[in-house]
Symmetry: C2
Subunit: 332 residues, 2 copies
Amino acid sequence: MTANKAWTLASHPTGWVTEENFRLVESPLPSPKEGEILVRNLWLSLDPYMRGRMSQQKSYVRGVEVGEVMTGETAGEVLESRHPAFRRGDKVTVHAGWQLYWCGKGELATKVDDRAAPLSYYLGCLGMPGRTAYFGLKEIGQPKPGETVVVSAASGAVGSVVGQLAKHWGARVVGIAGGARKCAYVKDELGFDACVDYKAGNLYRDLKEAAPKGVDVYFENVGGEVLDTLLRLMNPFSRIVVCGLISDYNAVEPYGVRNFRAILVNRIRVQGMIVFDWRDRYGEANAALMDLYRSGKLKYRESVLEGIEAAPRGLIGLLRGENFGKQLVKLA
Amino acid sequence: MTANKAWTLASHPTGWVTEENFRLVESPLPSPKEGEILVRNLWLSLDPYMRGRMSQQKSYVRGVEVGEVMTGETAGEVLESRHPAFRRGDKVTVHAGWQLYWCGKGELATKVDDRAAPLSYYLGCLGMPGRTAYFGLKEIGQPKPGETVVVSAASGAVGSVVGQLAKHWGARVVGIAGGARKCAYVKDELGFDACVDYKAGNLYRDLKEAAPKGVDVYFENVGGEVLDTLLRLMNPFSRIVVCGLISDYNAVEPYGVRNFRAILVNRIRVQGMIVFDWRDRYGEANAALMDLYRSGKLKYRESVLEGIEAAPRGLIGLLRGENFGKQLVKLA
């Protein structure tokens, strides 16, 4: 009989995540009860927020406890349905966690159309990262045509959509990424106006050159020194969308932001965001992203690891910035 | 013949301001040209923003150069008018700088009514500090009835108005001040619900006790450790009004803010403000503050030094938090 495999949390990390923080466990396949569906997960999404869930620090949702299945979103197909809205073969996304099968209430899953776009895209540019980019940029960043938008982690799942949406909405767009290869991709493939390599060691000077009129919107995914550098480049009445602070997630001591005074001097608006605050408007974002995708203006790149065994390694690489594009694990 | 006396900047300070950074100079009294007025300054306002103007660091307005008269607002009376809107004896406020007399275009002065309130109040609770409190709290802080508002430098010119406005608008109000005497004043005289002494050494614990439901609006006047502590206490969707960062103004190395991540986790909105961004709406603030004052709900305290010679000493004391209430110099 087929068994389920799941990664559980073995211990809370201190500083960098290691493979020892996870344990792979097997269990029998559950049977759906009335109102439930059984899903075979085909793709697992790996995302920076997972680092927060592994920690015991207070965050916006409860963290994963030792022994629990690691949290995460998957895309898969319905194997068995006891819910009227689903039938065998339907494709869905669901917060199934790091496991091969998931069984639960049908209401927790979202049907997606894998003829309109590849199934895995619903975990990326057409899914949570895409919606994060959409609402963060539209509702907090509020770029006006001609303004300069800077986004960090520009080749990543969120950053790549932020930049393409900002271009679509008429802004000048500058990416920040690690290494010449990612920067070339951001500029040549994604169509950003410029991309600065933060590993080149001249971030302030290079950004000043790439954004000669200063920065009106900064979409923050990384934090730390990059944030401190951007604070020096922000224009009066500019906006900073605080979406992620990945450089802090693994730090034992958080980074001390020195240029906070720029917020006062330039009347910057800095605002934190979590995409699920807009869950009532997901349909709006999904439609806008699908339109952009259909018109060929939403380029996207995936970094795929094979087999559930690779998941911890994938997350560790993601937190170190080793992935190139949206990080996925192909489960079947 | 009467001579003018003025404090000019002798040198830019590094770290703490000293009396050696200023030079007192005498000059003959100017005569107003067509369209100008001559004002005898009676009160000079000392304010934390002056530290910024003394520095060579980039700020929202150009700083004072060595040899120029120190910037500052005064309240005084018109001695001679060649402007149709003013006559001898009119009371005005004007950005005259640190000097006994001022001569310039009538449009730069604002007539005030010293029968409605003492003249000096137009430099404080009914003037720029009052308007700063009004717009910062109303437009950025946006407290709702029942929410908790915390304000630092609570016994000061801005902080005292912030707290009283917040009470008037239905919030629970907690002040932060230095020392038991200031705290007693904030609670007993200004009517705040609580006041925490940051010098007592238990800021986090004491604030947690004073704001058991967390903080919805923090009106920031000081920065540094106090800001970092507040970040730990902010509620989801709370707001931080960045009005001043006085603890940083004299620091050679700016303070590194460690709890920036709270902005993300709790979706805090942090926004810098400068009152003159609302200059088109000063009338609205003046009317609201005058109403509150007339109804007896705007308590106010002044700390007065005598004679223009005392001005540098007064600013140094203000930056060290030694004043108790709005710091003024009585010029005549």
